[in-house]
């Protein structure tokens, strides 16, 4: 054990390879899909799917069912007989950062299980994992999505009103409710010819009186009758990523599609497991924010260099120009935010409890990616505000980082509870 900052080789390699992918496959499409919202980037999806297959996995991570599910023991990099510590999350974080540098909206269109598969991974049985996750190894690109948020339940997701009741005669769950803000919901549920059959994971209560203890997740297969994508949202940014509203009216789901216990027990593990999913994914979402911020920051530095403006690192602040001070501050933010991501995922890889570090990395990334991208637009003046360049798009894309996967405020709450040793009841 010691303090070291060398990126492991596979991580460095992934960063190197994905930079090319980002430059070739993402950046040239960024503007088009920003301006053609709800158009599905088929060429990109198919290219990425075959590229991932060619790399031997079903995602860009070696043998990962999704970028956000716990990595299995990775054998591919164990060239020293398995003595190396695991780096699965570090690898995923680096990939997500690199691809988000390309285009964070297109990153969300990467085929795979996403948060839906992550929920199956976290809360499902081994049989369920096998049954539901095999599809992501198929010939066609396949998606899955997570449905938690409702119109009246955002950050406070224990207020979910979607109900699941058991039909004793048919042994089916009957689900009723309205879900919103489902990332990739359309590609996961709607049966497109070019896609494999996906699923959505729907959070519902089997016993509203039981509160959180009654909360369960259900795998709802693509095309299930009674389920409809009723709306695709029009968003400020990450427009190429579809954000669906999904209605469920007497939707029938097989009994075995419930993740976790079908009865309300004293132990509300289902909900806790869903929340545990966020401990794993928060630093990864933070990584996407760092990627967007880095894109904007590098773009700014390139424009400055064109005008022969070079940052004089090392000068006392009193001697720096305003531009130099801003750039230096941004670099401090960017570098430190990335290190916080790395520390949080390193802890996850080494099975150290990381709820504090995960949420801190998300707080920091949400803060700095909004600040940096906003500052870049300001500093570039008309070039920043113009849609001829991507800076303004990155500013719009960045904002979501501070909102999804727990808003900056919810994450502050999590951090505060951790550092104060308070329960949810003690610090609301």
């Amino acid at each position: 054990m010691s303090i070291e900052f060398d990126a492991p080789k596979p991580v460095a390699n992934a960063q190197f390879v994905l930079k090319t992918v980002a430059e070739e496959m993402m950046r040239p499409n960024s503007r088009y899909f920003d301006e053609h919202e709800h158009e599905i980037p088929w060429d990109y999806i198919e290219f990425m799917h075959s590229a991932m297959k060619a790399m031997g996995g079903n995602s860009l991570a070696p043998r990962e069912p999704s970028p956000s599910s716990p990595p299995p023991e990775d054998e591919r990099h164990r060239d020293d007989g398995g003595k190396r510590p695991p780096i699965g999350y570090q690898l995923i974080a680096a990939q997500m950062e690199a691809l988000s540098w390309g285009d964070v909206g297109l990153y969300h269109c990467l085929p795979g299980g996403g948060l839906g598969a992550a929920a199956v991974h976290a809360a499902g049985s081994p049989e369920q994992r096998e049954k539901f996750l095999a599809r992501f190894h198929g010939d066609k690109p396949t998606f899955a999505a997570m449905c938690i948020t409702e119109a009246g339940a955002g950050s406070d997701n224990s207020a979910i009103r979607t109900r699941a009741t058991l039909d004793e005669k048919t042994k089916e769950w009957v689900i009723n409710g309205e879900k919103i803000f489902v990332t990739g919901g359309d590609k996961s549920f709607t049966e497109y010819e070019k896609l494999g059959r996906g699923f959505i994971v729907v959070w519902a209560s089997i016993d509203p009186a039981a509160g959180r203890a009654g909360m369960r997740a259900f795998v709802v297969e693509g095309g299930t009758p009674g389920v409809r994508v009723v709306k695709l949202e029009h968003k400020m940014g990450i427009r190429v990523s579809d954000t669906a509203a999904i209605s469920l009216v007497d939707a029938r789901v097989p009994f075995e599609n419930i993740l976790g216990s079908p009865t309300v027990d004293q132990n509300p593990t289902g909900f806790k497991k869903a929340m545990a999913t966020f401990d794993a994914t928060r630093p990864l979402v933070a990584a996407t924010g760092v990627g967007v911020a880095r894109a904007a920051f590098e773009f700014l530095k390139e424009r400055l260099a064109e005008r022969e403006i070079h940052i004089r690192y090392g000068l006392p602040r009193q001697k720096l120009t305003s531009i130099e001070r801003d750039v230096i501050d941004m670099e401090i933010m960017l570098k430190s935010a990335w290190l916080m991501v790395i520390k949080a995922v390193w802890m996850a890889d080494n099975k150290k409890p990381n709820a504090l570090e995960a949420s801190m990395s998300k707080v920091r990334s949400g803060d700095i990616c909004t600040k940096i991208t906003q500052k870049v637009v300001e500093m570039l003046g008309p070039l920043g505000y113009s849609r001829e360049f991507l800076a303004e798009k990155w500013m719009r894309d960045a904002k979501i980082t501070d909102i999804y996967e727990g808003t900056g405020q919810i994450n502050r709450l999590v951090v505060a509870r951790q550092i104060l040793g308070y329960s949810g009841a003690e610090l609301r």
Partner: protein, 365 residues
Amino acid sequence: MYSFDPTEEQQMLIEAVNKYAANDLRPAARNAEESGELPRKIIAKGWELGLLQASIPETYGGFGERSAVTGALAVEEMAFGDLAGALAVTAPSLFATPISLMGSEEQKREYLPRIVEGEWSPYTAALIEYAFDFDPNDLKTIATLEDGRYSLNGEKAFVSFAKEAQALLVYANLDGQTQAFIVAKEAEGLSISEEREKLMGVNALPLYRVKLTNVKIPVANRLGGESGCAFEQLLASMRIANAAAAVGVANAAFEYSRDYAKEREAFGVKIAQKQAIAFMLAEMRTEIEAMRLLMWEAAWELDTGREDAVKDAYLASTGAADMAMMVTDRAVQILGGHGYIRDHPVEMWMRNGRGFAMLTGLAII
């Protein structure tokens, strides 16, 4: 590989320094600040932790190798106790560490054993100059080579223990490059102010103005001998030390205000149970973590000889200085009126917190 666990040895050191910081430095800090003097007994005890000794090879009287990461960990812990105390205990490093890292063989043999083998004795360095645009890479103190000797001219500020120092390492501008020169206390043309510097904070640390008028020194007294020294590496070491101390002070303020907020009641609850306070604390903790990692990375880069170390030490020092100001300011705010009263240490930490933007040169790892 990434890794964020200190080694076992480092962990033991952290614990030892933390104990000293908490049990010796912290309780003495307020009195020292008000009286302007830290008891020598306490400095001597800190010296016995052997931080400098452990960074100097056996050949020269020490028992180890310099590790910037280890140094940064130790400085953070010590500054967590008290900044002025930390700067006092580690003052001899300002003289010894540059010699150990870049001195000529003769310089190492002459100075290192006598510094590290005995008790704490005042050795120091003079880098800072009294100007709003002070720039360590563009010093106004000038060194010129005349008749086979260097002649130093200029004025230095904020020189710790200058009055009693056995010798000083004076940084001066030699043909546009910052270089360091060993100056004995009896050197002709060296004059040290009678009055101590009066600053906003770190008042327990005796700081002086030092004037150099045609101070002649032999060429052998240039740090590194004829070929000189790589100043940017030394500056990076000072900046990392500065950042580490900033993290330590900020962490002290964070923990103190956190504990206070968990005790203090208002409107029937602990104030920490109010989001307005809890969120401040969450942000303070997050910023501290961010700058600690940036500082660790720069230290690791220095240890592994990476080019980025110089730039990243600058970023860490700049970022940590801002962070320390933000965190200590909020600590005072969380204590409210009590934070403004000198019964509590947070106002002192806030005054110290502002110093990091200009105190590079008072510590080195």
